[in-house]
Structures are given as structure tokens and as C-alpha cells.
Symmetry: C2
Amino acid sequence: MFDYAQDMGKETREAILDAAEALFAEHGFRGTSLRAITQAAGVNLAAVNYHFGSKQALVEAVFARRIEPMNRERLARLQRWEAAGCGDLEGLIDAFAGPPLELAGEPRGARFVRLLGRSYTEPDERLQAAIRGMYEPVIERFKQAFARVLPHLPAPELYWRLHFLVGLLAYLMSGADLMRLIASCRLCDPLDVEALKSRLQRFVAAGLRAPVPREQGAVPAVRRGG
Amino acid sequence: MFDYAQDMGKETREAILDAAEALFAEHGFRGTSLRAITQAAGVNLAAVNYHFGSKQALVEAVFARRIEPMNRERLARLQRWEAAGCGDLEGLIDAFAGPPLELAGEPRGARFVRLLGRSYTEPDERLQAAIRGMYEPVIERFKQAFARVLPHLPAPELYWRLHFLVGLLAYLMSGADLMRLIASCRLCDPLDVEALKSRLQRFVAAGLRAPVPREQGAVPAVRRGG
DNA sequence: GTCTATAACTAGATAGAC
DNA sequence: GTCTATCTAGTTATAGAC
């Protein structure tokens, strides 16, 4: 026998998550009231606190629902990359940046990716910690992989460059449209995922491969032998 | 004779701007109430509406106060770069990225730079338009300069790459601390402005200089000879 | 120009009937 | 599980005394 009550509960839950995701992406967390969410979802105001406990918990549930599958796809590509011999820097960049950028190309995913990109600059410390927790194991695996294709880079230099990669990706995910400052959409459509991916790959690969100067800090400490 | 009333008014105005800047940077626009601002500034709640008219107008005044001098410094460096012969890509990157990053190194400036970086992903369309207006003439000058040092790049490729530069800079300004995902502060201190500047310069210069493949689209048209 | 007091509204959360 | 009604607290903005 079906438990209709449970089914209804699940539908309500999902409807709230969908509406919250869309409204958060458009107006931000503080700009979205529970009243707006429940109205858009076609459910009762009290349902949010019944199903999630609080607005904060709802926010975290919105992220948890989508980050896990995205990161699974990243790790799957990373494994294929390792199986193929660990030599291809462009392929590794794609394993990391491809899943979120491709998700951004889908109508449903675009909302979430924008929300995720924006969340990195959100002042909510608790949310940041929750999201960092979902990323840590993935980042750790990719750090090791990048270190393997770029073995000549000293650790700090590698970490700075990975920081630039992660930061640039975060910016692109946020959907912040600074491209409007630079070019018309005719010349460069920031929503053209394939164009974006190939250009990003080229740009970032070149940055990661940039030669390292002898002196690493402001003051060179010791001249290297070879 | 001094107009004491006017002097007091100016002090109140500045106190409000200072407090608003600090609180906006820390808690975001919506997370900061006029009550919090006026309390921090040591002025009366009603003073905000007297001096600025509304919260929205206060937000825009906070930006206008600091963006203009920052962009003037950028243009001054651009002129020195042009006077020096227009050949040095690293110097041009510094003219563009140096002023905001150096401002971020000062205690007072850091707050504002974080706020500015975050503002790009803020959902407030009116604010975005206001800020874009302050940037447009500067971006236009720099576009021309970059086109001059990178004359072999087709326009769309140049614009994509400049978009990456601007986006990465926006991320760095936001102070979003994704570096915490990658490395301990011991190895790479994201607040070390000089280290950041030199690393960014190297990374971005390499990305901008990356060779352009023959085939620009998804399908290669012609096999490359070398 | 600055203050107090308050209007007018919106928020998140909950109690209790169904 | 879902609803209505309501509580408490916080918001921007303003009117009017000083």
C-alpha cells in the first residue's frame, strides 16, 4: 500500500526546494522571504518550518541537493583522466570545470550554478562552512592530480594558480555579467557553454603552465642550482 | 565665519558613509539595517534619510565616493604605460589590477574592495547599472590598450580573455576565501598583496599570450601544419 | 540639522484546530 | 501533514518638536 501522506510530503518538500532555488538565485537569500517561497511553491507558509525547521536549514538543503551529484561527476571524470594516463592538463581542467559549466547550460541547472557561484561571496559564515565541507574531499583529489601534471611547480606557486582557477570558475558560475562591460553578446555570448569551456581551458592551461621565475619571494633567498 | 551647521552635517555624512561601508562589507546590504549603521556612526537614525534620502541612495553614495579615485589611478598608470611605449603586457595588467589590489592591502581600503568585489554578484540590478556606468570609460581605454599589445588575437578571443581577467580580479576583490580550500595561510597568504600581484600577473599574462588555434569553433576546419 | 516618537509594513516562527 | 491565525521582533521611512 502506498503511503499517500508521505508522498504528498515529498512533493511539498521538492516544490519548496525548487521554488527556493529559483527565488534565491534571483533575489538572494535575504531578499527572498518564506512567504514568497511558499506562495511560488503553492504550499502553506507553515510547511517550510515543518519540513526544514528554519529558513537557514532550507538554504543548506537547497545546496546539498545538487552539489553532491555535480561533485560525483567531477570525480568520475577525474578517474577516467587517471585511467588515461594522467598526462593531459586540458583534460584535467575539463574534469574540474566541465560539470558546473555544463550544468549552467541546462535551464534547470543554470539557476543553481548561479546561486552556487554567488554563495562564495555571501557573508553568511555558516553557509560558507557547510559548502566548504561538501567541497573538501573533491578539492583534495584534484590538488593531487594537478600536482602530478605540473610536477615542476613549487607547492605555493601551484596553490596560487589553483586558487586563480577556482576563483575564476566561481566568478563564471556566479553569472555576474561583467562581459557586458567588454563586448556585445554578438561577439562573445557568455551563455555559449562550449565556447566558454574551450576558451577557459586554453586560458587557464597557459596560466598553469607559465614558467616560474628563479626568485620566488620578494627577496630571493638562495640561488637554485638547476 | 564658519558655517558650523554645514560642518557638522558633513561630519555626520562622512560618519554614516564610513559605518555603512564597513557594515555592508561585513554583512551585505540587506543584512545591514539603517539602525545598525546609525548606531555604529554615533548619529541619529533619521540622519540617513535626511542626508541621503533612502537606503538605496546611501548604498550608491558609498560606491561613488571611492570608485572614482581608484579609476583615476588606473588611468594615470595607463598613461605612463603608453608613454613608455605600449609594449609591456605585464605593466598593462598592473595598471588595471594594481590599484584595486593595492587598495585591498590598506586597512581602510580592504573593506571597500571586498564590498566592490561582492557587488558584482549582488542581485540589485539598479546598483549594478550604477557601477557599470562608473566603469565603462575606463574599460574602454584598457580594451584598446590590450588590443595594441596583443594585435594577433581576433577580437572575440581577446574579449573572452579580458573577461577572464576582469572576472578573476572581481573574485579576488570579493575576498571570497576559497584559498582556504586549497592551502593553509602559511603556504599562501591571500592577504599578501605583493605575492598576489606578481602571481596574478604571471598567470594572466600567460593566459592572454596563449596561442590561438586555427579553428575557432567547435569543429576544426583545417588541420594544423605545425 | 538633529532629535523623539511612531506610522506602516514585513520578517521568521509557532500554537493549535483539522 | 496541512491549515489559519497570530506572536514577536525587526525593517524603512516620516511627522513634528526643538
